[in-house]
Amino acid sequence: MPDAPRPFPGDPPVTPELAAAGGITADEYERIVGRLGRTPTFTEIGLFQAMWSEHCSYKSSRVHLKAFPTSGPHVLQGPGENAGAVDVGGGLAAVFKIESHNHPSFIEPYQGAATGVGGIIRDVFTMGARPIALMNSLRFGPPDAPRMKHLIKGVVAGIGGYGNSFGCPTVGGEVGFEPCYAGNILVNAFCLGVAPADRLFRARAAGVGNPVIYVGSRTGRDGIHGATMASAAFEEGGESKRPTVQVGDPFAEKLLLEACLELMAGDAVVAIQDMGAAGLTSSSAEMAGRGGLGIEIDVDRVPRREAGMTPYEVMLSESQERMLLVARAGREAEVAAVFARWDLEAAVVGRVTDDGRLRVIAGGAVVADVPVAALTDEAPVYRRPAAEPPGREARLALDLDACPPPAPTAWGEALERLLTSPGLSSREWVYRQYDSVILTNTVVGPGSDAAVVRLKGTDRMLAMAVDGNGRYGGLDPRTGGALAVAEATRNVACSGARPLALTDCLNFGNPERPETMWQFQEAIAGMSEAAAALGTPVVSGNVSFYNETDGVGIDPTPIVAAVGVIEGGRLPVPQGFRRAGDAVVVLGATGDDLGGSEYLKVIHGVVAGRPPALDLAAEAALQRLLVAAAAEGLLASAHDCAEGGLLVALAEATFGNRGEPPVGAAVDLSALPLVGGRPVRPESRLVAETPSRVVASVPPDRVAQLEALAARHGVPVARVGEVGGDRLRVTGPGVDLDVAVAPLREAWRTAFARMMAAR
């Protein structure tokens, strides 16, 4: 038993109350005292507060996350490292992850969102991958509130501000608005990088005596306790939690990236981890933990921005743009030289030890000395009580007869209302603020089902999409989770890419409420089933609990990003129609899936009903068909039917592709394939949100081939019309719509900007 560490001069004595103020429960405190055999020092309790926080320990979610399928022949790295990785062929790995920065963004939208992007970028280049694409998923409350507009502007500017300056294109994302996010916005950021498949770096300390080196920006008092903030709900008077917001410096991150990748091209680095939540504490403890070793850190050697910081503050600071690495002994000078070239600091702050302890030294004395395992593997794991929320059945009930559909000729007006609603309007106002073309890889940027970036030097491209639907999740989290997986992968498949793997961000309310845990388990179950059925394992992810303000939680919002590959030098299939004369084809069957639909919300002001049922076998068949049809060059365009249903998908398909003019179409929906051949309400043909459907256009001489291929895959297919002209005409049961495309497109394109400008 080593000597007990001495408190750092001036630090307060630790009591159960003090521990509780940092989120450690009475039970947990007892465990800590028991494990250490003594009262922890102030620095030590700080380590536990950070590492046992929900954010770092996943204590409420860990047991449930095990349900995800995480393996597959192409998986190089599943969950557990800084990011997941899959083999995409051509000798390359795609390394990717999504992460939330919800709480900081609500407090300071610009910096909160910016540092969210900075954090996820570091997670990816920590693995030795060069970031090549960013996406984001955003949820806001109703945008008519000035405060909400301020948040929207700040978040979008912050995401752009960081990614643009750092120099990684933001190629896609999604934005949603629901009342449940008014007090808890969601900001989820995704980053994808590429690395040689055989040169992934991991955060596993090795080699007793190896130096532990701190690189990057200096440490200040920023964000002390960000990890615990992300693990607590907001309350009235949450102001006191405010000074924890960090400021990002994308310029420093760019230098850090170049220096790290330059260093990682050699063999001086043994392990590396970014300093994210709980900074130096989590990076050192996790690296030591994964390697089954110990780490000793002398905080006096940590480069500081401010005078008088205590070891507690240094260990818990969440200053941005910093990394911790373990280098081979004797290579310290090489490391320092690389970082000096990029005007960055590198300081040896400690070494790897064989005793399995995290030891912190300050002023020459040991101020913390705890078993690494106590911080990591032995962190509490809770199987919290779960219970179905009361009153859910009432929300599922839906009286469609109270929602009469528009008259046949009024559908044009209904379509315009849908297309200009906050949920469906073009996101151009958002993505105009993001550099989507830097790095000269963006083949399909924002504005399509999936973004596509080429991989230079190979015959491959990567497609990616991020999706989620809080309304579905709120009504039925299991189906909502499955639908998120299905939509993200379907979007990828629409581009002709074979979906490979997923990353996910689970945004939920307070896990100490049984309803939240029920929703959480249900959503994971649904996602897992879908991921397994679609052959897309989950390789990384993030959980954000405590999205709750004044006792009101958000609807469960699982956000899923899917990544797929296009091989053989093929071009992606675009979303919009391209050539007059092409046949318009609908793949997949339509059902009476109006529950939770955008149509009910926008046209009738109703948010109710059961979300669409998902037939996983049908979905899998559709996605296989899309990939096969693209490979055979049968598809001129493909666009999935999502919010707003077939009608909105058709309209969007007429809006064209980047650099191409819009082109109209005439379709008749009388012969639409129906689920199980069962008759549907007339409006369902137009606006039901039955999943597993795609609007495609096909050269007329290839339609027969597509039909044959669809038959082989067991996917219903119907030729419903033809591309051409400058109008969209839709006829069929209960509909006689005829609108000019150009003005409709303009209304859709500018609706978001008008919404933001409205006072």
Partner: protein, 81 residues
């Protein structure tokens, strides 16, 4: 009246801009420059009210719009011109 408002980053908040300027000045050969901090300076005219009212209004403007209390401090003065 004219209000002259200074908005500065709170002590302890990272100021990447200040850091870059300090480095730039050093590269230009300006020695011994330290602690460069960058803030905003806003001037505005406000008329038809008493100085007291102007003071109250400008404070409210700073609190509500001009400064971000999470990371910034403000100070201002009001002058007759």
């Amino acid at each position: 009246m004219v209000a002259r408002i200074h908005i500065t980053l709170k002590r302890g908040v990272l100021d990447p801009q200040g850091k870059a300027i300090q480095q730039g000045l050093a590269d230009l050969g300006f020695e011994g420059v330290e602690d460069v901090r960058v803030g905003k300076y806003i001037e505005l005219k406000i008329d038809g009210v008493s100085k007291d009212t102007a003071e109250r209004r400008v404070r409210a403007m700073c609190e509500q719009l001009l400064a971000n209390p999470v990371i910034e401090d403000f100070r201002f003065e009001i002058r007759n011109v």
